[in-house]
Symmetry: C2
Subunit: 264 residues, 2 copies
């Protein structure tokens, strides 16, 4: 039963169906679930939510515990501080981490826990490197993932596109999403891997606006401390990158203090 | 324990660590795992593998059963046959499905089951639409994911790139991968969402060759029946697309018969 729930996180499983599958009475299932829920919570493996009533169901949210979140973000910071990650030009090599199934799943679960209360209906990202974390966030929340493209692809049908100015390159970029991908009135959670000035996130906010959808949250795996004023007002970074010193290969990166204080 | 294993599929968990976490003797853990293994196999939820010896460990492979694979591919074919998926130009709208956490996870588990015996060490795809299924395949196999880019990005450091001729557009494209992403001697499993002539897959094979890596398998979610001769020799499609009739909005798509016959 635990495997069933874990295999389809964030999906509601009906109690009578679970009971039939396990070949036991519904009352037994309820007792088992209650025991499982306590165990899961104690081990910091997430949360099991049971809905009562004739249509009673159960849902597994893979929410990590505060201790598990801190452990993940400490480990990721340590990995990112390794001197061999410093690239020519003072960039940081992080592609292997944000594309890894293990790390993207852990970060996705943290965004799921942090953003569920905003009640998003869709997760939105832009190609390419933000996709793994955004996909895992969508999985943790049980939501569809929308991927904005930087070029309009005929094979995806009619699309809405916007242009935006990237702060880093100073160039004009395009971003588009198929017309049918997002219904008006949708509640959008934007997820990306990296934020410097916030131009890309702002572009995604504008794109969602074209669909008459509402942005209920912006989450990024890593945000730089500079510039202080980003193009989006509220955003939630997991890690904060203060400085990369190319000469000494020194990287100043740490978990966003909000996760440490438990203020959230 | 089941949740622990499911949360980190394809990772080896040491028996003594599991026993300590659960607060029981190691012999009890072994018995529990054996019971869990039988249950998991009976329910078609995958396979639990126990390694004996002083470094004894246990690993959960989320391999779907043959019946579960057939069910998934039948359901996906039915979804793709919906008339509203036919786009102007006779294209098929499939972005929402290949980007969905639910479908990409199911397809990734099928590739994991089908490709494990080839003993890959890396999963390789190219941006954009193949990423979700490739990520979920990498998760099911416990491997890193490599994403080739169509443009060389300075922020990823020194990269190897190749040019290839796309059959569909007749244009020359670029594909690149960071130099440090793939060690020589790596065993690469290529995963993509769609194959027509196979030019993209051929490009990925050539790119892997530049790293002195060996391609041990090519998997695509959907392959067209035409052209019959693809640019890659062996590939494994989950679904086969025979025809899209734009006027009547009729889509001829079905599971690759190999999954039905159980020949694999």
């Amino acid at each position: 039963m635990a495997l069933m729930l874990r295999r389809r996180p964030a999906e509601v499983h009906r109690l009578d169906e679970l009971a039939e599958m396990a070949g036991v009475a519904r009352s037994t299932i309820s007792e088992d679930l209650s025991a499982l829920g306590e165990l899961v919570a104690r081990q910091g493996l997430g949360r099991i939510e049971t809905m009562q009533g004739s249509q009673g169901g159960v849902c597994y949210w893979p929410d990590p515990s505060p201790a598990s979140i801190r452990g993940t973000l400490d480990d990721l910071s340590a990995e990112l501080r390794r001197p061999e990650r410093v690239l020519p030009g003072g960039f940081l090599y992080l592609t292997d981490l944000v594309c890894s199934p293990v790390w993207s799943a852990r970060l996705g679960e943290i965004f799921g826990e942090g953003m569920r209360s905003a009640q998003p209906t869709h997760v939105l990202t832009v190609e390419t490197r933000g996709i793994p974390v955004a996909l895992m966030t969508a999985q943790a929340l049980g939501l569809p993932l929308l991927v904005a493209r930087r070029d309009v692809r005929v094979a995806e049908g009619p699309a809405l596109s916007i242009t935006y100015l990237s702060g880093a390159s100073g160039r004009v970029h395009n971003m588009s999403l198929p017309r049918r991908a997002l219904p008006s009135g949708g509640r959008v959670l934007i997820i990306d891997d990296f934020m410097r000035g916030g131009a890309t996130a702002k572009g995604l906010v504008d794109l969602a606006g074209e669909f008459e959808a509402r942005v209920v949250g912006v989450g990024v795996a890593i945000a730089t401390t500079q510039p202080v004023n980003k193009q989006v007002g509220r955003y939630l970074p997991l890690l904060v990158l203060n400085r990369v010193d190319e000469a000494s290969r020194w990287v100043d990166i740490r978990p966003n203090p909000i996760w440490r204080s438990g203020e959230r």
